[in-house]
Amino acid sequence: MSKICSLKEAIARIVKNGDSVAMEGFTHLIPYAAGHEVIRQQKRNLTLIRMTPDLIYDQLIGAGCVKKMIFSWGGNPGVGSLHRFRDAVENGWPQPLEIQEHSHADMASTYDAGAANLPFAVLRGHIGSDLPLYNPQIKWITCPFTDEKLAVMPALNPDVTIIHAQQADQQGNVFLWGIVGVQKQAVLAAEKVIITVEEIVVKLNPPPNGIVLPHWVIDAVCKVPGGAFPSYTQGYYERNNRFYQQWDPIARDRERFNQWIHDYVMAVENFADYKAQLEKDLIPGDTK
């Protein structure tokens, strides 16, 4: 069976209510299209996992899809707060949000351990920080050789990992490059994997040691050109910094936010329609 299908089908088939879902990306290659499809399909009680939750997680939280978030830094990069995230944590709107908080070094290590099929990760870290007081998953271990005290955390193995990448071939092999974050680890650590790509090419042409994810670690590959918008895809399009700035006032206001989700996510058929609508409405006069 081909791994290639529509994003609508992939999300419907693979993401279940209650799943833990990592939509990873470190500023680059954020899977916005997939996030919107999750909102559109009204998935519920998700545990969202990401080192750097940003606007798409703000949207998922505000849209009521999320029960819990596992993360290490949640903000609108270069702009400020995630207001929907804050509203959920501070005021329980639209529902209380349980949080499980890590540091980047911790979370990167737990993804690494998950990909390596180890039950826990070891970290030279967390010392002196209050984080371990509030995250009971962080424990301490004594090195059997040196007696040093080190932090340990359970490995991270999401039910579903979703990422965006540059290219796939017809078989469903995926090639990505640039800032690749924890995507390989998140993919290899997950039970199921969905990857959206800019294009499907006849033959991938990675350089020696280029980063390829073979089709046999992936469950669905979906062609969604621009699927990382307003984040960027190296080699395809740049980051729409203006949208990140414009998001701030939308997200500050529950009403505006609800209207935005309705207009740009629920009322459109797919990501292409959303992008067309957004480009028309939100950034008038900007031709870039």
């Binding site: 540091s103 010392i127 920080s129 974050g181 203006r242 870039k288």
Partner: protein, 257 residues
Amino acid sequence: MNQYTAEEMMTIAASRKLKNGVVCFVGIGLPSAAANLARLTHAPDVVLIYESGTIGTKPNVLPLSIGDGELSESAQMVVSVPEMFRYWLQGGWVDVGFLGAAQIDKFANINTTVIGDYHQPKTRLPGAGGAPEISTNAKESLIILKQSKRAFVEKVSFITSPGHLSGGDAREKAGLSTKGPTAVITDLGVLAPDPVSKELVLVSLHEGSTVEQAQEATGWHLKTNDPVPFTPPPTPLELSVLRDLNERTALAHSGTH
């Protein structure tokens, strides 16, 4: 005297702390501005690392996010984030961690997690990010933030990234062998930990600022060197390089990207 702003002075004072040739793990925002200014002035061989995995970056404009394409395209190499934190930061290759903060206390402990109770927060901040392990694994760290009573508190309600903990040898006793924060650069002056007590002391004032202003913007009784020297003012070169950088940056970010 009014030829430059307090923020310019702060950025320039911070940039001077970065020696040529050191390996610097850079936070986004003010640290990134200061580190790149250093690279473009007295420290052309400084190695800038951003936690997105970019090593040896030489961005032409300041990044808006930690993972801008500009960082990746101008980098000497781009590695995965687990490799960044495991091999490069934890591996001990970073000389200087350059951090911002939402709140800092008397012993240079940083809070970027939460104001108020953790479970019933008054303000939920973004969280830890890379800072806790930068502050413990880098050989030393520099902190840059604007001085105010809200930001400079006697004791942070949450230690996200340890500075000198409760002062004295507390940091060492906790098992940390790195130096920790060696300077805090603000819009009013520069603070540094007392060699013994590790309490932050005002060691220089930017021209135009006073000890009283600094005290007013600090939530504890601020000790000062006596007398407090003035920070050397920006040189014309520092100012023009910084302004060019800021101008290029503003221009680049004013479009859709």
